[in-house]
């Protein structure tokens, strides 16, 4: 039964991808990309990756679509015909595809418990996490503790990308790109947008609440800083779409966003430094408390909070940078 569902979802993915590449209407391509991300999230869920599915749904179908639309509003909504021949790239792609497909015949089948990937550190993670960290969600344990150094690096990549976008686009005054359509469109004034606004406003508190739940329940169920950051950012972006940039910036001003971005990244680093000061290794949370298990849990909660703050701040700063550009 599950295999039928998986095959169906995977086939839909391929069809959507072909449609995305074929259409010349970039607006349609971006919308299809949202559907593609949602299908991808469903696939991840079928493959037992609940945490990843949550992230992909919030980031791919939510924030990515809004950012692409923002870029389209600033550039062009249609792709022009280019005179180049399509045959050469097609031949290259087909040859490469044949080569990689040939390579897949050496791969272990899906779900094979004896595959090399399941032999190395993964069994250790699964068997030792209850003893060393004592939280149910092993994904959070690996992310926060075992591979905490790696996650720190990822946070700094997100941080750097956010700074670079601000350098390129500037974080000027609030724009009206996503607020209300020009007068000639809204013949009936705001009446036309009443229902989405009312329902949206009703839902936003629950979206933020769900984001906080995902943040703080991340040790017990699917969740954590990356997912929560994306969900909360999506909630605030929804507010900006409904009520206009200005209102969103009044609720969460740019200075607050900067504090979140820098504070989040700093909090993560500081936890590592405090670990060193208390006699452990960098990001070795066991020394944070007299009981090493409690220390690990405390460390994970702190760094997840740092990740959540940084991701929310960066995603919202990027969104505001695109929105502000429209009027600049």
């Amino acid at each position: 039964m599950t295999i039928l569902l998986a095959v169906f979802l995977l086939t839909m993915l391929v069809i959507t991808a072909v449609a995305i590449v074929r259409t010349r209407d970039l607006f349609a391509a971006v919308m299809l990309l949202g559907i593609f991300s949602l299908l991808m999230a469903a696939n991840f869920f079928v493959l037992d990756a609940a945490d990843v599915a949550l992230t992909e749904a919030a980031v791919g179908a939510g924030i990515s679509t809004v950012l692409f639309l923002g870029a389209l509003a600033l550039t062009a909504a249609r792709e022009r015909e280019s005179g180049d021949s399509r045959w050469l790239p097609l031949v290259v792609v087909v040859i490469m595809a044949a080569t990689v497909v040939y390579a897949t015949f050496d791969k272990p089948a899906l779900g094979d418990p004896n595959a090399p990937v399941h032999q190395h550190v993964a069994p250790w993670y699964l068997s030792e996490t209850p003893r060393l960290i004592d939280i149910p969600n092993v994904v959070t344990a690996v992310l926060g503790s075992y591979r905490g150094y790696d996650t720190l690096g990822e946070v700094f990549v997100v941080f750097t990308a956010g700074i670079a976008v601000l350098f390129l686009l500037g974080s000027g005054r609030p724009g009206e790109l996503f607020s209300r359509p020009p007068d000639e469109l809204s013949t009936g004034g705001l009446k036309h947008h009443l229902i989405p606004r009312v329902v949206g406003k009703l839902l936003i508190p629950f979206i933020i609440l769900f984001g906080l739940y995902v943040q703080f329940h991340g040790e017990y169920g699917p969740g954590g800083g990356f997912q929560a950051g994306a969900i909360i950012a999506a909630g605030v972006i929804l507010y900006a779409l409904l009520e206009g940039e200005t209102r969103a910036l009044a609720a969460l001003p740019e200075s607050a966003l900067k504090v979140m971005v820098i504070g989040g990244a700093l909090l993560y680093t500081l936890v590592g430094v405090v670990c060193m000061l208390m006699g452990g290794n960098f990001l070795d949370y066991s020394v944070l408390s007299t009981n090493s298990v409690a220390g690990q849990q405390l460390g994970i909660i702190l760094i997840e909070a740092g990740v959540g703050l940084a991701v929310t701040g960066v995603l919202l700063s990027i969104f505001h940078a695109f929105a502000a550009r429209a009027t600049a």
């Binding site: 692409f68 897949t104 899906l110 994904v139 690996v142 956010g162």
Partner: protein, 119 residues
Amino acid sequence: MQLLGLYNYWVFVVLLMIGFYAVIAKSNLIKKLIGLSIFQAAVFLLYISMDKVEGGTAPIIQAGVPDQIYSNPLPQVLILTAIVVGISTMALGLAIVVRIKEAYGTIEEHEAAAMDSEA
């Protein structure tokens, strides 16, 4: 069954190549970025396909079920962070495209290149 066991990888290859085709064959810069994000999603699918264990469930330890099989948490951690990093770098790409549009008045690669060779 054996063939279905490789279906995930074939879909990965096809998606990878669709994304790659968009990157090399399309002249429109936004379309290139869309292709790149399909390419990226294909790599995510490859990693997540490898985490699956037959009869397993999501790697959240259930108390009182000692014999439960869990899927591999490691690829999930890698992809979880990669998705958020991916959207940040994609935003950076879009920001560069916006600046190219402002500088050249076009987001078609061949038109911008033609302007460069004229100047």
